[in-house]
Symmetry: C2
Subunit: 353 residues, 2 copies
């Protein structure tokens, strides 16, 4: 049962999250967020993550229905306590507070301490772009699986960053990228499928280049290391994100990191220039770049986010492919919650149309 | 006369800038800034730049002794008018204002419109770090010489970014990097020396890879294109910096860009956590990374900024090497200002010791 439509997948998520005790509002936001990741092609941040979340909630490591509290606040900054609830809820709160502060003071920056996995960063930077602000997210991600340039031992997370910029063309410019050469999830997928990975992605535990995904993960444990993207420059970015997320936000650095350490920044365009003028200039530049000459074999110059938006359109029409192994695990966790997904899907067939 | 000590070079800069009509205070700051770039190993941003500055000032394109004015302001943001004076002066003002705002409101972000070349970014992010803040600089640089991923025509500047983080170890973590694979200056240097450049740096005007620096620059004009660092990720970063600097800050995008478009952000650490605690955790993580295992053939894992600080120590002792061609041009512009540099150096021999 590999191909689903988005409505089915969202309903499944919602049903499972509610069954594990999450209130409807939070469950709905997290379900939307996960399936949006699938639609955008970021399967490693899609429904696959639900498996971890449910396990973690059953263990009490991730808590449901907690209140996000303010720990520190100035007129333009805040530190929130995510209270180890679902990271998405804390992250959404943080970006909304940053936007609120930016509306009054031109810029807002909000950190979330005690924060679980927040999912796809683009989710939150886009919230800012939709409010006509530039959204910037700096974060370290627990996992500690990227070697510094010149090193062998994993010291940094895949530490992504995201910047969303509003346009007049309906969709924002949306940069959302790990500072590792690939996300760890891609190596896991190759491992599941028994495939080799391209050279240059990982090194083994002795620091030698490897194309064998088993050299990165032994079960859940990272034994080798991912490489940073772009050599020493990507490694430098990974380092500063590790410190901002790990120390300033408080998620801990390197081997001591736990959860996510997001810093959400909203920059109010209208504090700098008239919004319409901004959008007009951005649109005009986008068109200039897209109409410039292409390399041989390149059909279209894709700007940050475009591939994702195209994937979303495609998957909305054609459905979302879920690996058998993932689907089986989802059925498994559902069973543990007394849910039979086959029956659920049959019963809701009309609802889902 | 290729090897100079820093005091000589600074005195030469100061003398020339004053001769072209810059007031002592500004001339001193710019001289320090340029020679600091030479000391740190960024020769493309060192005394070499003085040649352009003087020519530009004689043409009246760069103006001396202008007032930096505030165009727009909120409690945490501002847009300054650099008034086409020396970019360094406007940039310093902008970071100082951002710091002032961050002191009160946790974060400050200041843009500079009508801004000439500001020199080495690390200069200004370090000002924030010295005030126990995290300094972030986002900028687009006129020049329009980097092709987008998949494209041939130059569309972005080398658009650098800098992040400085204070530590308890005397020197900040200092990321200061272009989003092109190398700075354009490095290709110019190869051209001057008649050397080939490594593969992967540039493409020629038809979009083919080239190792011939003449394929990038025909005199001052960019005819080929530099490539972004790190493939589509570096290209995405280059795009968002082009828009932030070009539209939000106002320097113009791509072919329309003029000068630099810097956005200076200061983040007050004490709004997030106690400063001592921050520094202790950063120092401890730095040591963890530096003590981790190294790749074969690597003596030391160098963190962002370390190579520059080591170069500075070395050049302070051993002197700064200036290419004959650069030195001849500096003598040339000096002559145009009725300065004989050989006599100036002889007369000031004692002063310079």
């Amino acid at each position: 049962m590999p191909l689903f439509n988005e409505i089915e997948l969202r309903a499944i998520c919602l049903h499972i999250l509610e069954a594990v005790g999450v209130n409807s509002e939070d469950a709905e936001f997290v379900s939307n967020s996960l399936i949006e990741a699938n639609l955008m092609g970021h399967d490693s941040h899609g429904i696959l993550k639900l498996i971890n979340y449910v396990r973690s909630m059953k263990k009490g490591v991730t808590r449901s229905n907690v209140k996000v509290k303010v720990l520190r606040e100035t007129s333009s900054t805040a530190v929130l306590d995510g209270n180890w609830g679902l990271g998405q809820i804390a992250a959404k709160n943080a970006m909304e507070l940053a936007i609120q502060k930016a509306k009054v003071n031109g810029i807002g920056a909000v950190a979330v301490a005690h924060c679980n996995h927040i999912g796809r960063l683009g989710e939150y930077s886009t919230i800012a772009a939709e409010k006509d602000m530039i959204g910037i997210i700096l974060i370290n991600s627990a996992g500690n699986n990227v070697a510094p340039y010149g090193g062998i031992d994993p010291m940094y997370g895949t530490n992504p960053l995201s910047i969303a910029i509003p346009t007049g063309l309906g969709k924002p410019i949306l940069l959302d990228m790990a500072t590792s050469i690939v996300a760890g999830g891609k190596v896991r997928i190759a491992k599941t499928r028994g495939e080799k990975i391209p050279e240059g992605w990982i090194i083994d535990r002795q620091g030698h280049p490897s194309t064998n995904p088993d050299d990165l993960y032994d079960d859940e444990k990272c034994i080798g290391a991912l490489l940073p993207f772009g050599g020493y420059k990507g490694s430098g970015l990974g380092l500063v994100l590790e410190i901002i997320g790990g120390v300033l936000v408080g998620a801990g650095c390197g081997p001591k990191s736990k959860g996510n350490g997001p810093l959400m920044i909203a920059l109010n365009i209208e504090s700098f220039m008239p919004l319409n003028d901004f959008k007009k200039q951005v649109d005009s530049f986008i068109m200039t770049v897209k109409n410039s000459r292409k390399k041989e074999g390149v059909n279209e110059i894709l700007l940050a986010g475009e591939l994702e938006f195209k994937t979303k359109e495609k998957r909305r029409k054609e459905g979302i492919f879920i690996e058998d192994s993932v689907w089986n695990q989802i059925k498994e966790i559902s069973k543990g919650l007394n849910i039979d997904l086959e029956i659920f899907l049959k019963e809701n067939k009309n609802l889902l149309k």
